[in-house]
């Protein structure tokens, strides 16, 4: 199983890396995030870069659904779902490999952001601890976020609709983190569980995290990966 996943991940990565659209979107992502960083540093006249992260987060919630929807819909678009389901390959192997490949690409994008942030060092001193903690925070957050978006990408056969649902849900979950203190007591725990971003903020706000957001994001990731596998199993065999 792991051997097959390794090859499927490789194929998924190749498919992205050979695609012109991927480079177009990566360039766009890096341009906007680079502009956001330089704009923040110059307008606030500070190298305290914590204010940049919400902007990068906003970018992530635009680009992650795109990659997830593209990865899932291409099987239908290219008729590959028939080849896959006709072969002795399980949906677990397919979904996990898609998840890993998108996660790795997100980490690649994040690494580029770290390089961009390191360039700020030429202006003034930056906190490496904050940078490392932020990278870790984002990496943990992406685990849950990618799994969540893979689930949205399997919801219907219409990729545009899936993207719309994923984007709206991501924005709502993102905004939740700002309104959590206004939520009444009873709903608050449910709200806190859904909101992926709330606890992860400590990674870049104070430069240290706790175990809770790690477990939280991993649990969300696992739950939605399981749901995606179940949903794709049903969809691929019944459509």
């Amino acid at each position: 199983m792991f051997f097959k996943i390794k090859f499927l991940v490789k194929k998924e990565l190749l498919d992205f890396l050979y695609s012109f659209k991927f480079y177009l979107f990566l360039s766009l992502y890096l341009f906007i995030s680079g502009y956001s960083i330089s704009n923040y540093v110059s307008t606030h006249n500070t190298t305290n870069i914590e204010g940049v992260f919400p902007n990068i987060l906003l970018l992530i919630i635009v680009f992650v659904p795109f990659m997830c929807v593209k990865s899932m819909s291409k099987e239908y678009k290219h008729g590959g779902n028939k080849i896959i389901t006709a072969s002795p390959t399980t949906n677990i192997e397919i979904i996990i490999s898609k998840f890993i490949s998108i996660y790795l690409l997100c980490i690649l994008g994040l690494t580029c952001n770290v390089v961009q942030l390191l360039l700020v060092r030429f202006i003034d001193v930056i906190s490496y601890r904050l940078l490392a903690s932020t990278f870790l925070g984002f990496a943990i957050l992406l685990f849950g976020l990618v799994a969540l978006n893979i689930f949205f990408a399997t919801l219907t056969l219409n990729s545009y609709l899936n993207y719309g649902i994923a984007f709206v849900c991501n924005v709502v979950i993102f905004l939740m983190s700002y309104f959590i203190e206004y939520i009444p007591g009873l709903i608050s725990p449910v709200y806190a569980f859904i909101s992926l971003f709330t606890d992860i903020k400590s990674f870049w706000l104070i430069g240290k995290g706790s175990l809770y957001p790690i477990i939280h994001s991993l649990s969300i990731g696992m739950i939605f990966l399981y749901l995606s596998i179940m949903l794709s199993e049903k969809r691929w065999h019944n459509e």
Binding site: F3, K4, F7, L8, K11, L14, D15, Y18, S19, K74, K77, H78, G79, G80, N81, K82, I83, I84, T85, A86, S87, P88, T89, T90, W236, H237, N238, E239
Partner: protein, 340 residues
């Protein structure tokens, strides 16, 4: 042995497939023919394990392919679906390598040899480094067929294998499939009757999700598939021409189709390798009837369906009808026309 037991498929409250059962023995081939949207592709998807039936099962060597415990029997099924536009950014070699991995050929050396064997078998070595998106429709279809052969599966399933190919490539593909499918259980679905009959020994006909003609292997002989239809557009008095061609040995069936008050078409079903165009010309000329159009074409599935509408089935006796039955048919057709 590949066995299909009482397959039933329902989608959106509509019966897509109804009580489909048949079996194909080792090294034998079966053709499934039927018009577009008769349920062939849905059935092929089910046989390949792509789609699940609402009820019924598919057995390969007495193992139900839908049973999770016998999941790996899928390894013995090679499927070339109708739609093909896979992974445009992969090269032909990468694509075949990928399918080989999907088919559990995990050993790198073994996989390399298998992909090379398929590239040689299909004579596509020169395409190995070409991106899938740069291939012509014809080559894409070749790759589609090639991937089904990966892993030397026991069962080969082809859904419309020559769709979109030019006549030369289509003919080559038919010959190739006929030659290479000898050591496999082969099932070919198509709407082209001569194509299926040239590849497969046994044939079944489907319409509206049902097998309407079963056990037709011997009944639908190649002779039947190679019959010709002569269509003659003319005008004048229809009664003058009736009975003129009843004595021709070459003629099996005659249909008179009135287009308007004066114009009508005469359709002759002719025996294999026969042609009566000269005789028809002479007869119509003697009646002073002009010939507006005359075409000689092979018998199509539509003609076969015309027959099904008339008789409800295609019993061997009626297909190979000789004189008296031909007269019966003509009388029936004429009677129908007069009623209208």
């Amino acid at each position: 042995m590949f066995k299909v037991n009482n397959i039933y498929k329902k989608e959106d409250d509509e019966d897509m497939l109804n009580n489909i059962s048949f079996r194909v023995k080792d090294n034998e081939s079966l053709g499934i023919i039927g018009p577009h949207k008769c349920g062939k592709s849905i059935l092929m998807d089910i046989l390949a394990g792509v789609s699940l039936p609402s009820s019924g099962n598919v057995e390969l060597e007495y193992q139900n392919i839908f049973n999770p415990l016998s999941f790996y029997t899928k390894k013995d099924i090679g499927y070339a679906p109708q739609e093909f536009n896979y992974y445009p950014n992969l090269t032909v070699y990468e694509f075949l390598d990928y399918v080989a991995i999907l088919k559990d050929i995990v050993n790198k050396k073994e996989r390399l040899l298998e992909v090379e064997r398929i590239l040689d078998l299909f004579d596509i070595q020169r395409l190995r480094n070409k991106l899938m998106k740069n291939l012509s429709r014809s080559y894409k279809q070749k790759i589609n067929l090639a991937q089904a052969f990966l892993g030397n599966p026991k069962v080969l399933l082809f859904d419309e294998p020559t769709l979109g190919l030019n006549p030369v490539d289509a003919n080559d593909t038919r010959e190739f499939l006929k030659r290479e499918s000898k050591d496999h259980i082969t099932i070919v679905a198509s709407h082209i009757l001569p194509e299926v009959s040239s590849i497969c020994k046994d044939l079944i006909i489907m319409d509206e999700g049902k097998i309407i003609v079963n056990d037709l292997a011997k009944n639908l002989s190649k002779d039947f598939c190679q019959r010709n239809i002569l269509s003659v557009d003319t005008c004048g008095n229809l009664n003058d021409v009736k009975g003129k061609f009843d004595d021709y040995d070459e003629v099996l069936l005659i249909d008179y189709i009135r287009r308007d008050e004066e114009n009508f078409t005469i359709r002759f079903e002719l025996k294999k390798d026969t042609d009566i165009r000269k005789e028809v010309f002479r007869e119509l000329n003697s009646l002073h009837m002009p010939i507006n159009n005359m075409t000689l074409e092979p018998l199509t599935l539509e003609d076969l369906y015309g027959r099904l509408e008339t008789f409800g089935e295609i019993p061997e006796a009626k297909i190979k009808a000789d004189k008296p039955k031909v007269v019966d048919i003509k009388t029936k057709r004429l009677k129908n026309m007069e009623d209208k």
